[in-house]
Amino acid sequence: AQSVAQPEDQVNVAEGNPLTVKCTYSVSGNPYLFWYVQYPNRGLQFLLKYITGDNLVKGSYGFEAEFNKSQTSFHLKKPSALVSDSALYFCAVRGRDDKIIFGKGTRLHILP
């Protein structure tokens, strides 16, 4: 069965430092992977996706993610964190019948 795991409930990063939010996946076949962000009292906003092609995917707000097939990982990264990046981040995979399966989410705190 398709699944994603986000091993960290919370990640704390100082403003200006690089950030990484981890995600690993388990799929049969080629993975379609996504990152979404949820700000308080807001819906889900799309950040980026990996379908095929380059392993480094660039997305919105300066975020990028690295697809690693051998490690079955799709970690979200940003070179320099902003306080405004503080939010809840979800990794997701496309499952059977085009359904999206979400990880449990990682709360990112950027410390000023």
């Binding site: 819906g43 496309r94 085009d98």
Partner: protein, 113 residues
């Protein structure tokens, strides 16, 4: 990508009543999905709604509790029926997949008292 308007954005409802949530997409989409996000948790798929057919519900969700309509390719509603405090959650709709991406509505924050 599509734009999805979802309303209401929030509501406080009495137990035993029902609330209907609407999602309007600015383009025609074959599939729409409805999710529930309980406090502090991830999103759980409730059902898939295709135009012209009955919604397909995930394990643990039933039509009597969460009836869904999909009258055309740009609109869908989810009703939360006979509500109890345990139904207090954020409910979200999405389209998908279009160009392998999924767009979400802004969510409905439901509090049942």
């Amino acid at each position: 990508s599509a734009v999805i308007s979802q309303k209401p954005s929030r509501d406080i409802c009495q137990r035993g009543t029902s609330l209907t949530i609407q999602c309007q997409v600015d383009s025609q989409v074959t599939m729409m999905f409805w999710y529930r996000q309980q406090p502090g948790q991830s999103l759980t798929l409730i059902a898939t709604a295709n135009q012209g057919s009955e919604a397909t519900y995930e394990s643990g969700f039933v039509i009597d509790k969460f009836p869904i309509s999909r009258p055309n390719l740009t609109f869908s509603t989810l009703t939360v029926s006979n509500m109890s405090p345990e139904d207090s959650s954020i409910y979200l709709c999405s389209d998908g997949p279009i160009n392998y991406g999924y767009t979400f509505g802004s969510g409905t924050r439901l509090t049942v008292v």
